[in-house]
């Protein structure tokens, strides 16, 4: 430990003592009268125990890279200090506010055991986290992953450009996927056997082949075979990824359509509506609500699959996020920092999407039967 060396030994001993006291108090049947303080007491005890353990574990791999001093002071000195003060406060307040006459009870009650079980779950989770944080090779990590200087070249122009490219490829592929997926779903539900066979064949084929192969096939195979040229990379990406995604999309949409009760179709048909009118006005609007979650999944998968586009051969202006990350990793210093930043960019796309869909689902609640 580099920081506050003489003080640290006092601190570790104090942590051990307070932890022991809290664990003993938790186990006493009479001390705590309600569940919440008992849970808190056990959690605090386990967390305080984790500090000495984390500090004295020696992995035998030579000198550890300690936490950066500023961070170490906060995490290893001040935070346990606050926790110890909290633990003492909890014990003292409990002692003062205890009712004078306590009804005698033998052993721990059911509710006490539940409180201890909960305290164990919180405490062990947090204790493990603390040990891992103390044990990590922070110097190495900060050099490889958090060297802001390494991003200078990519940030912000290239990164925003790549983010927009990723979005463009995703939306194009989603448009193809939704259109083709809907056609396939209706074909699979069709009364015409030929359509059903074709749809099933398509779905089985494209679901079974790696997206990587399809991207290469669309980029190089199809133009050669048919003698056509697919003009832009965005179009290639939309077709290749859309073809694959449509297979999954079709199955989701079919399940959604089939989940609409048969009575809905009967009611519409008995009003004289044709099959087409029934599908468009009654079945599909209800199916959309049902398939919203699986379709969201599909968009998120598509977002990540756009990383395969580089296989089609990209110019720098066409880089999407993952391609940019691969190029940036090859920079002389900064190591994997770019990967980290790019990962965050993907979350910038997918997290709001998930949020939006949850909002939409809530909005539909009113009209749910």
């Amino acid at each position: 430990m580099d920081f506050l060396i003489p003080f640290m030994q006092v601190w570790v001993i104090a942590e051990l003592c307070v932890a022991a006291v809290m664990l003993v108090l938790t186990a006493l049947p009479h001390f705590y009268t309600t569940a919440a303080p008992r849970t808190a007491s056990l959690t605090l005890g386990l967390v305080l125990l984790a500090y000495p353990v984390g500090i004295f574990i020696d992995k035998g791999t030579g000198p550890k890279d300690p936490l950066p001093v500023a961070l170490g002071n906060i995490f290893v000195v001040y935070l346990p200090g606050v926790l110890m003060a909290g633990a003492v406060l909890l014990a003292v307040v409990t002692l003062i506010r205890r009712p004078k006459v306590t009804t005698p009870k033998r052993g721990l009650k059911r509710s006490d055991k539940r409180a201890i079980g909960r305290g164990l779950q919180y405490g062990l989770f947090l204790a493990l986290l603390i040990v891992v944080v103390i044990q990590m090779n922070w110097d190495y990590l900060s050099q490889r992953f958090f060297t802001v200087a390494a991003l200078r070249e990519a940030w912000p122009d290239q990164m925003i450009h790549a983010l927009l490219n990723t979005l463009k490829y995703t939306l194009g592929a989603f448009a193809v996927s939704l259109t083709l997926g809907m056609i396939l779903a209706l074909a699979k539900l069709s009364s015409v056997k030929l359509y059903r066979y074709l749809a099933t064949g398509y779905i089985e084929l494209f679901r079974g082949l790696p997206a990587l192969l399809i991207v290469m096939a669309v980029a190089y195979g199809v133009p050669m075979a048919l003698g056509i040229r697919i003009p832009t990379l965005a179009l290639k990406a939309a077709i290749a990824l859309g073809l694959v995604s449509a297979a999954y999309m079709a199955e989701s949409l079919r399940a959604g359509i089939q989940a609409v009760p048969k009575g809905q179709v009967e009611a519409a048909r008995s009003l004289g509506m044709s099959y087409g009118q029934t599908m468009i006005s009654v079945v599909i609007p209800q199916a959309i609500r049902i398939v919203l979650p699986p379709v969201t999944n599909e968009i998120i998968l598509l977002t990540k699959d756009t990383s395969l586009v580089y296989l089609a051969g990209v110019t720098m202006a066409e880089w999407e996020l993952t391609k940019l990350a691969r190029e940036s990793v090859a920079e002389p210093y900064g190591g994997l920092t770019a990967l980290f930043a790019i990962g965050a960019c993907y979350l910038i796309i997918t997290l709001p999407l998930g949020f939006l869909v949850r909002r939409m689902e809530k909005g539909f609640g009113k009209a749910r039967a």
Binding site: G263, A267, L271, S281
Partner: protein, 296 residues
């Protein structure tokens, strides 16, 4: 022939190797209210669904308003615009408001303008006593209200015939009366109606004719009061006794209906249109019914 609304000749229907309808002949005239009663699994609902071809008959012919609907060349959608249908499970469109439910087919099928369709819809909602719920969604309504909306939806197409498939069987007992009252008013106004029901009091007081079905055949067909109060066949007598006086079933009779129950179960298994098992305590005896069945 001009006032014949429904004509059924030699109608058969099988689901796989399960023979549900075994040769039905039935004629319904204009302004007539025909109630179809009988045990679960006797084929009542299947018969009703064959009338507007929601089920394809296996054999036999059906004419609706002078058009043979069993003719493969017929424009079924056109014929169905003249026939309203009300389902046991209401089947309102949950994603549309009450008004949306009533106007959808008017606009799409009859080609009415939105304003005209809404005027018709509001008039029919008034008739079923729900003028103030036009903007509610079906999920916000009680079962009885939903079923009245379903009736109004069918009426908005200005049908010449109304089909009711156990319209009160899925309702809480205290809501049955509202729906029956609407149906009674409709009958009084001269609507031609075919009603599959377990409400014996309604069949007797509102129906002109009652058809008793069992095991896929019409067992008895006669004036409503006579079939309900003085059935001529033994099977009808046993059925009506059990329905009207469920507390008087003798120990010796226990299990006698198991055969028909098994048939009903297998119909449920195949047909896909679920009957709800009849409520314990019986049909017709519902205290909230506006039409009381006097002791006899």
């Amino acid at each position: 022939m001009s006032d014949v609304v429904v004509q059924i000749e030699g109608l058969h229907k099988s689901f796989g190797d399960h023979h549900v309808l075994k040769g039905i002949d039935l004629t319904i005239h204009e302004r007539e209210v025909v109630c179809v009663i009988g045990p679960s699994g006797s084929g009542k609902s299947t018969l009703l669904r064959c009338v507007n071809m929601l089920e394809q008959p296996s054999a036999g012919r059906v004419w609706l308003l002078g058009t043979e609907v069993t003719d493969p060349e017929v424009d079924l959608d056109e014929v169905r615009t003249h026939v309203g249908m009300v389902f046991q499970q209401f089947n309102l469109f949950p994603h549309k408001t009450v008004l949306g439910n009533l106007t959808l087919a008017q606009v799409k099928v009859l080609g009415r303008s939105r304003a005209e369709a809404e005027a018709v819809a509001r008039r029919n909602l008034e008739q079923v006593g729900l003028a103030d719920r036009a903007d509610a969604y079906p999920a916000q309504l009680s079962g009885g209200q939903q079923q009245r909306v379903a009736i109004a939806r069918a009426l908005s197409m200005d049908p010449k015939l109304m089909l009711f498939d156990e319209p009160t069987s899925a309702l809480d007992p205290e809501l049955v009366g509202d729906v029956l009252a609407v149906m009674r008013d409709l009958a009084k106004a001269g609507m031609t109606m075919m009603v599959v029901t377990h409400e014996m009091a309604f069949a007797r007081d509102v129906g002109d004719r009652v058809v008793f079905m069992d095991d896929g055949v019409v067992v008895e067909d006669g004036p409503a009061a006579q079939v309900i109060t003085d059935p001529q066949t033994e099977r009808a007598r046993v059925f009506l006794h059990r329905v009207l006086h469920p507390t008087e079933v003798d120990d010796a009779e226990l299990g006698q209906t198991d055969a028909s129950r098994a048939a009903a179960a297998s119909e449920r298994g195949r047909g896909g249109h679920g009957h709800r098992p009849p409520r314990a305590g019986g049909y017709g005896a519902g205290g909230a019914s506006p039409i009381k069945l006097t002791d006899h």
